[in-house]
């Protein structure tokens, strides 16, 4: 005989539902509805066809053989391909290096690394812009001093470097999050495991491979999913640092949506990009939820 389910948890959901239905669920449904209309007329999938075939989204004429612009979707993919592994390994590396018991002043260094996460994203974008400005920024100056004259330029002004400037700026901002998560994960691993491994004669690499890394798996899942979400919805830094330019070389999906909405005043195309973006972000989000369950 099945035990009847308690309805009590549902009562606790009611306050959230009161807010979620009109302010989240309704706008989402309305956005999906808008994406099938143009100038007040139902157009089926025409808006999707127009947006997806646009060179603003995927520019197959130029990608991958010619220099950017390659389209905002491709830029988002490049963003993920570079940003995701970089922040994971940098964050993990820093967390390992700055373990409290091994490094003096590790808290201070961690705070400095975490600073990128604390500042507003708009400020992060401005700092990124100036970091890569010829004459004023650290990066071109250092590269110039090292003799790499081709990179002693204003990175945000050139199509070949603009996207990479934004990605590197974003790595600086996001590494603090990754480091903090891994630091917490490392602190939760019992010391006994390491002592047992040492008694068994394991070297440092073997300990990392067989003890640390597997036990950090739940943290890695969270970091990967959160970073994917960050990369897909990246907007502020690009908006401030490059505006998506030059020539669309650093355009990303969220900024494309903004342009359709705010510049072209075409809410229907903006809704299409919003739906695509939501669909893309749902994939890592659902993966994360399932893995956590």
């Amino acid at each position: 005989m099945r035990k009847p389910r308690s309805l009590t948890p549902l009562f606790f959901l009611l306050p959230a539902l009161v807010l979620m239905v009109p302010f989240v669920i309704y706008p989402v449904l309305k956005t999906i509805y808008f994406s099938f209309f143009l100038n007040g007329k139902f157009v089926g999938l025409d808006n999707y066809r127009h947006v997806l075939l646009s060179s603003d989204i995927i520019n197959l004429e130029r990608f991958p053989t010619k220099s950017p612009p390659w389209g905002s979707l491709i830029n988002n993919i490049i963003f993920i391909a570079i940003h995701l592994p970089s922040t994971i390994f940098l964050g993990l590396g820093l967390a390992l290096l700055l373990r409290k018991e091994e490094v003096k002043g590790s808290s201070l260094i961690k705070s400095i690394v975490f600073l990128g996460m604390v500042i507003p994203m708009i400020v992060g974008g401005l700092i990124t812009r100036f970091l890569f400005e010829q004459g004023a920024g650290v990066i071109p100056s250092v590269l110039g001093a090292l003799g790499i004259k081709s990179l002693d330029i204003t990175w945000t002004a050139f199509p070949q470097t603009a996207l990479f400037a934004v990605i590197l700026g974003s790595i600086w901002i996001w590494t603090g999050f990754s480091m903090l998560m891994y630091s917490a994960g490392l602190a939760s691993i019992p010391k006994d495991y390491y002592e047992a491994a040492l008694i068994d004669g394991a070297n440092k690499f073997q300990i990392f491979k067989n003890v640390t890394w597997p036990l950090l798996k739940p943290i890695t899942i969270v970091v990967v999913a959160m970073t994917l979400l960050w990369d897909l919805k990246i907007f502020d830094i690009v908006y401030v640092a490059t505006g998506g330019g030059p020539g669309g070389a650093s355009m990303v999906l969220a900024l494309q949506m903004w342009d359709y909405f705010a510049r072209e005043l075409n809410y229907n195309y903006a809704a299409v990009v919003a739906v695509l973006l939501t669909t893309l972000t749902l994939i890592p989000a659902m993966w994360l939820i399932r893995r956590r369950e």
């Binding site: 009611l14 009161v18 239905v21 030059p246």
Partner: protein
């Protein structure tokens, strides 16, 4: 258990009902159009009773710093003439307003009573029924020809012009030219020779500094080349879309005039435009293409000299426009202020160090701030044309700025740039 279920069902129905009602409210505000008339009528009635009371008008404009100081002198003069009206000013960039206003207007609301905005945007909002009209408020014959075109649609005037910036050419420091024995050129060849000579001066980063922001400084330079070598008709043709960017005559201007200068390194990479003023003034660069407002941004406006490209017969005149949303709580006072800004306010504004020119023909040369008198005379002798990208507006404007940034660093991509500008041009 059944009582619990019933109670829960009732609560759930309650939540859904509330949600639907709340959603309905949101949706209704977005779609109902007939309500606007009622709203206007109500606010007008309220104002009639309040007319003698103290009224506070909110004004939004793009100015800050010295530009704001100049504008506030106009506001002070208005307040002195209208003791019952107080004006509060807020600074917003037009780029930011473009995202805020459409949503506010759709919900029959406005962040201010009088708002400065791009002409194309005003027309678009006017056509959607969000703005008051000025047909019975100002006399179009009192304005320089063409200045109202940007804010007029189907015979309705949706905005009023304020003062305008002219974009007359390359500014230089007279003291700099004197120090290095340089002279303003009279021909194109002399202009190119001047740039070559400046490039050899020790310590000079580039002869011309390219201002950067969202992109307009580069478009201003480009328009000056188009006006000089293609004339006003070409500029007007490009604005209307009758002339294509890939048209051989347009392309020739880029290929033969602008691109060779870019390739020769006579223009700097784009530098943030206000920082560029400082760098240019201290001698890192010799020339700076900028609008007339630069006269109010430098330490000594009397040290300023101006070089238009030799042969230039037309000049961009870019007015600031004001609009009054229908959703203002004080329509009468707001219209009064807008009228003042479009008329006597201009006289006051050109008398300050705003670096602006009047669009109202009743303003005379004597009304001008002394350093601007010569510029006003120069501008009065050439044909004034509207700003190209401001006139087209929308997504294309951003594309234009962005493509020029690309051209500036990769002049070899000229064909791609012109093709993109044609492809993205708004379809009529």
């Amino acid at each position: 258990m059944s009582t619990k279920k019933m109670l829960f069902s009732l609560l759930l129905i309650g939540v859904l009902a509330f949600s639907i009602v709340a959603s309905g409210c949101i949706g209704g505000q977005q779609t109902t159009t007939s309500a606007s008339t009622q709203t206007t009528t109500k606010t007008t009635t309220t104002t009639t009773t309040k007319i003698q009371e103290q009224v506070t008008l909110k004004v939004i404009g793009p100015w800050s710093g010295k530009e704001l100081d100049a504008f506030m002198k106009v506001i002070k003069a208005f307040e002195a003439q209208h003791p019952n009206i107080k004006v509060e000013y807020k600074t917003y960039r037009a780029e930011d307003l473009a995202t805020i206003l459409p949503l506010q207007f759709e919900s029959k609301d406005t962040p201010a009573d009088v708002i400065a905005m791009w002409g194309w945007f005003i027309t678009k909002m006017g056509e959607k029924g969000h703005l008051m009209t000025f047909n019975n408020v100002i006399n179009p014959d009192e304005y320089i020809p063409g200045v109202l075109d940007a804010v007029t649609a189907n015979g309705k005037i949706y905005g009023v012009p304020f003062t305008a910036a002219a974009k007359p050419g390359f500014w230089y420091r007279k003291s700099f030219f004197k120090k290095y024995g340089l002279k303003p050129p009279q021909t194109w060849d002399e202009f190119v020779a001047l740039l070559a000579k400046i490039k050899k001066i020790p310590g000079i980063k580039a002869p011309i500094v390219s201002g950067d922001s969202v992109g307009w400084p580069l478009s201003d330079i480009t328009e000056h080349f188009i006006l000089t070598f293609g004339g006003a008709q070409m500029q007007l043709g490009l604005i209307s879309g009758k002339i294509k960017w890939e048209d051989p005559q347009v392309k020739a201007i880029f290929e033969q005039r602008l691109v060779p200068l870019l390739k020769a390194g006579y223009f700097s990479e784009p530098v943030e435009w206000t920082s560029a003023v400082t760098a240019w003034w201290k001698g890192d660069y010799a020339l700076y293409f900028m609008g007339t407002w630069i006269t109010g941004m430098v330490d000594d406006p009397n040290d300023l000299g101006l070089i238009s490209l030799p042969g230039c017969k037309a000049m961009v005149l870019a007015p600031d426009y004001f609009m009054v949303p229908k959703y203002t709580a004080h329509p009468k006072e707001a219209m009064e202020l807008a009228k003042f800004l479009a008329t006597e306010g201009q006289r006051i504004h050109v008398g300050t160090n705003s670096g602006k020119l009047a669009t109202w023909k009743k303003v005379t040369i004597d009304d001008y701030w002394p350093p601007m008198k010569d510029v006003a005379k120069i501008v009065s002798n050439v044909q004034a044309v509207p700003d190209l990208d401001d006139s087209v507006g929308g997504e294309w404007q951003k594309t234009f700025w962005d493509q020029l940034k690309l051209l500036w660093v990769q002049p070899d991509r000229l064909d791609d740039v012109l093709k993109t500008l044609d492809e993205k041009f708004p379809k009529k």
